[in-house]
Symmetry: none
Subunit: 214 residues, 4 copies
DNA sequence: TATGAATGAGAGTTCATTCAT
DNA sequence: GATGAATGAACTCTCATTCAT
């Protein structure tokens, strides 16, 4: 019997409940800190069941993490599609804003991503991070390539470097909204969506002057 | 008897050895993951002694962390003093370069900082991070204020936002050199100091156009 | 519904497969160590089925063990029949040689026998072992009685004691070929069939002088 | 801190109690079957203590086993010394008798030996068995060499083969007294010491004729 | 008849913390 | 002041067995 086979035979409602609790637990306590005991206590099921479904803690984490990341990718895909006709900097603003909204609705997922990023001994850490970063860079690269084709960029700008800057700024901005006290009192953490838009506008402005065509 | 009282009565060599081992352990395994068992094994001292010196695990961590961060601050102070007469962007390049050099020499300290940043259940996490970030922002703010006084900045730029951008880019760049696979194959992780300088130059260049006076 | 009833309604092929896997598992890991989980995994059938067929783990073991021992007895019977006209010591040599050959072809069965012999908590351990030993002794006793009738034995030898010696030597010799390092470097374990015959000849020789008629 | 260091700092009485309980548990249930939970329950100490003393289950077993075997070797040494002036077959009888007496007083140790012999997954099984068997063979070889020097043996007898026979018979005889129902009703198991001497005498008699000088 | 999801006791192991010496 | 033995809760993981479908 393959792992996950058993799990996928459960009712969708139960699958969803288990996944949600697992994501929350890993999100709150990281991989090593997460307790399967705590999960089954919250779920009201037997400890053995988790191991029947996922084989071991590693398998559970991988499943929870991948499930969560799929939702991020889905979301990002729709953003890109909706900004296809906009210029680069409008698209960037939209992306950041979308990121803020997503995090507002799914803070748990963002924290899980953070944990995977900076905790050691995450199962398949390298593969996971490499694949995520690749996805993110490809996203910004594709925005930049579209912009270059339209003549929106400085001629001499290196697309890799530019993508790095975009990724760094967006990532840090979003992290600041999640991780308390990372913004040194600037007020990013927990600020209103309107204030967030102000921040986004000004950051984008700096970037436009840095890499834009004029 | 105050905690740390007994610790400071030890010979400087012993104090230094204990501090070093504690910093290494927390740096490698994070707060929750660190094992006092492991530390005393490496140190060859009794487990009870640690509790006598520092009260509990929390006290040990706080001491180790603060000690490590003092070294960072000392280092940063000398960088600022040495670049007092340079223009903003030269000073920024120097700062990033200095950061690369520091990390090269003290990777353990940088990892400890990362762990403190992204792990929950760090004792006094809020206070620690707030104080660190404050220090970092003040550093960049002071550079920017110096630059504004000299007319090196766009008139309309908001210094807080600019400091945010500088801090974000510098931080992400340095993290990329430490955490594997965070750079999506761009080659920042583990690149040679010369390649790092190239990266720094180009990032600074983007920033100059974004916030510089012309 | 009697247990085993449902099992015997299965296709002979399936019965045989289940028996074989069970014997292998018990042979490798002993009774307590054997895992029904592992068996059904290898068989690709439902765990519940095993309990339907055999009631519980005990029933499964008993069936597997008895099935395996039947094969040993069948084999031993043919050996005795084929040596009916030989003198005692030729028959003994033939028996030992046959034992070696059987083990060579059915190591799994021999290991199962060993496990049953020396593990506690074997279900019905006493009955099982008593019956096996009885069978073995009867075998040697019948050889000895035949020999006595032909005047091949010392007058004053006690047949029980002699049977004990024969059984002990044969058993130990065969075990030495299976269990590594039981022969203290004498080279019995894993030796070639030819070398085994040399050993057999010399052991038989000692026995002949010990109990033979002259 | 080395494993066993801590343990040896305990009071001799406590060390002895722990060792005794461990030997009993392994002796009754084998390695895999033994439960550290059960041991600490019987001892009335905390589970963690066992791991502090011995590191892990493997370490505990190794210690318990070696301690038990030392007692066997000590005993055997005194037997050999006391029979130095006897002829081979008298010495053999004394050895077997001594074995019977030892087992009568220490059945737990003998069962532990049996378990180590026939259970798989014993830690360092190969090394343990090789060393034990070597010790046993050397013992019989030394008796045989002494006998050959005195002209008590058949000229053409191979000492290795003879030692094998002695070891096999002695071992099986002693096992028969411990493991129930291994004697097929011959009455070795649990027989009185006097009956045991009778058996010993007759077995020795067979061996004498098989390998003796006349 | 066959299935396989559910169970929960029990396994070995690690750990921060306490306290008598 | 330094020690290190003692603790017990919490951890991940395995297993035979049950029973509704």
């Amino acid at each position: 019997m393959k792992p996950l086979q058993t799990f996928h035979n459960l009712s969708p409602g139960k699958q969803e409940r288990i996944t949600r609790v697992a994501v929350e637990e890993f999100s709150e306590k990281g991989y090593a800190g997460a307790s399967i005991n705590a999960m089954v206590r919250r779920l009201g099921i037997a400890k053995g069941s988790i191991f029947q479904y996922f084989g071991d803690k590693k398998g559970l984490f991988l499943f929870a993490f991948n499930t969560a990341m799929e939702r991020v990718k889905d979301y990002l895909r729709t953003v890109r599609d909706q900004t296809a006709s906009e210029d680069l900097f409008t698209a960037l603003e939209a992306t950041l804003t979308a990121g803020v909204i997503f995090m507002e609705k799914h803070p748990v997922i963002y924290r899980l991503y953070i944990k995977a990023m900076f905790e050691d001994d995450i199962p398949f850490r390298s593969e996971i991070l490499r694949s995520l970063r690749e996805y993110s860079f490809k996203y910004f690269r594709s925005l930049l390539e579209r912009a270059r084709a339209r003549g929106e960029l400085r001629r001499d700008i290196d697309l890799d470097k530019a993508a790095f800057v975009l990724d760094a700024l967006m990532d840090r901005f979003l992290i600041s909204r999640t991780v308390p006290h990372l913004d040194a009192g600037l007020g990013i953490h927990g600020c209103s969506p309107e204030d967030a838009r102000q921040w986004i506008a000004q950051i984008t402005d700096i970037v436009r002057l840095g890499i834009g065509s004029r």
